[in-house]
């Protein structure tokens, strides 16, 4: 739903980097370069970022 705060495997905090990553990719930067620049280097952390689907905006349309 929202980007996980930590990497499931190693415990690095990643959520703070996610919005910046999204901005960079929207500007046309290559995702792998954007991740490396943001200090996400291990592949356990990389899969957290690029496999994430942000669904909260969709779900917010149907409040409880």
């Amino acid at each position: 739903m929202m980007v996980p705060i930590r990497c499931f495997s190693c415990g690095k905090q990643l959520a703070g980097v996610y919005e910046e990553f999204k901005k960079k990719v929207e500007k046309g930067e290559k995702p792998e370069k954007a991740m490396t620049d943001l200090g996400v280097k291990r592949y356990c952390c990389r899969r957290m970022i690029f496999s994430h689907v942000d669904l909260i905006d969709e779900i917010s349309k149907y409040p409880r």
């Binding site: 739903m1 929202m2 980007v3 996980p4 705060i5 930590r6 190693c10 415990g11 690095k12 905090q13 959520a15 703070g16 996610y18 919005e19 910046e20 200090g39 909260i56 905006d57 779900i59 917010s60 149907y62 409040p63 409880r64």
Partner: protein, 251 residues
């Protein structure tokens, strides 16, 4: 044998050190001690007074628990700090919106999105950060510590100097010196083994310098790298002293 430590490089909050004259047992004891016995602050008790966001209370509490909280030296294991989060939509709730009652304590990374609120939605949360060691939960793990042995290429006489290993290396640290592969920067080796696989003659192997390790430390919670290692070594000393004391009681 005396242990010597040299700093190799620093990138962001990751530092790498070259440790000489030690054994896997010692260096792994330090690593495990950082993970399990070095206390730091993390949010543990969460009281949710109001939560209109689409995230369930449990998910919200879990997200809050993962946040990195700055730890002050004056805090001892078991100490608590109260933090408050109050926000009204429409907005994204970030970790910077959390207010601490102690000015020394704060959330380190300010831009962590916690939840999103639409119009008229409100959240009101009170929480306590508690100082605990990582043995209880990984959120109290102050640093990610890893180590690896230092490799060197060992070449048998079958080597024909084809240079396949040089091309295969993903971090580009193999260099052909007079038809023989040599490691340019052995501390950058990721131990992937691509060079070994690429050699058709099976002439190349990775050997290891015994007693030499690359130790990487990345601070992920409220403690600095130095504080994390200090706490770890202190915990090891305490534990071994306890052990020695109880041994003496046997006599």
């Amino acid at each position: 044998m005396t242990i010597s430590i040299k700093k190799l490089d620093e990138e962001g909050n990751i530092s790498r050190y070259l440790v000489k004259g030690t054994s896997t047992a010692v260096i792994n004891a330090v690593r495990r001690s950082v993970m399990l016995h070095t206390p730091c602050l993390a949010i543990e008790d969460v009281s949710i007074y109001q939560n209109d966001s689409v995230l369930f209370d449990e998910m919200l509490a879990q997200r809050l628990g993962m946040l990195p909280v700055k730890t002050d030296k004056t805090y001892k294991p078991g100490d608590k700090v109260k933090l408050v989060l109050e926000k009204e939509g429409p907005c994204t709730v970030y970790s910077k919106d959390i207010k601490s009652t102690d000015p020394k304590i704060d959330i380190i990374d300010k831009n962590i999105p916690i939840t999103k609120l639409t119009k008229d939605q409100k959240i009101k949360i009170e929480m306590y950060a508690i100082m605990m060691p990582g043995r209880e939960h990984a959120k109290w793990q102050p640093a990610i510590v890893s180590y690896n042995e230092v490799p060197q290429v060992v070449i048998s006489k079958d080597c024909n100097g084809c240079g396949d290993c040089e091309k295969a290396c993903p971090v580009k640290i193999i260099e052909m010196k007079g038809k023989k592969p040599v490691l340019k920067d052995q501390y950058k080796c990721t131990l992937c083994g691509a060079c070994v696989d690429s050699c058709e003659k099976e002439a190349l192997k990775l050997g290891f310098d015994k007693g030499e390790y690359v130790l990487a430390i990345e601070a992920v919670a409220g403690l600095s790298q130095k504080e994390a290692i200090d706490g770890a070594t202190k915990a090891i000393i305490e534990k071994s002293e306890d052990f020695a004391k109880s041994l003496q009681k046997l006599k």
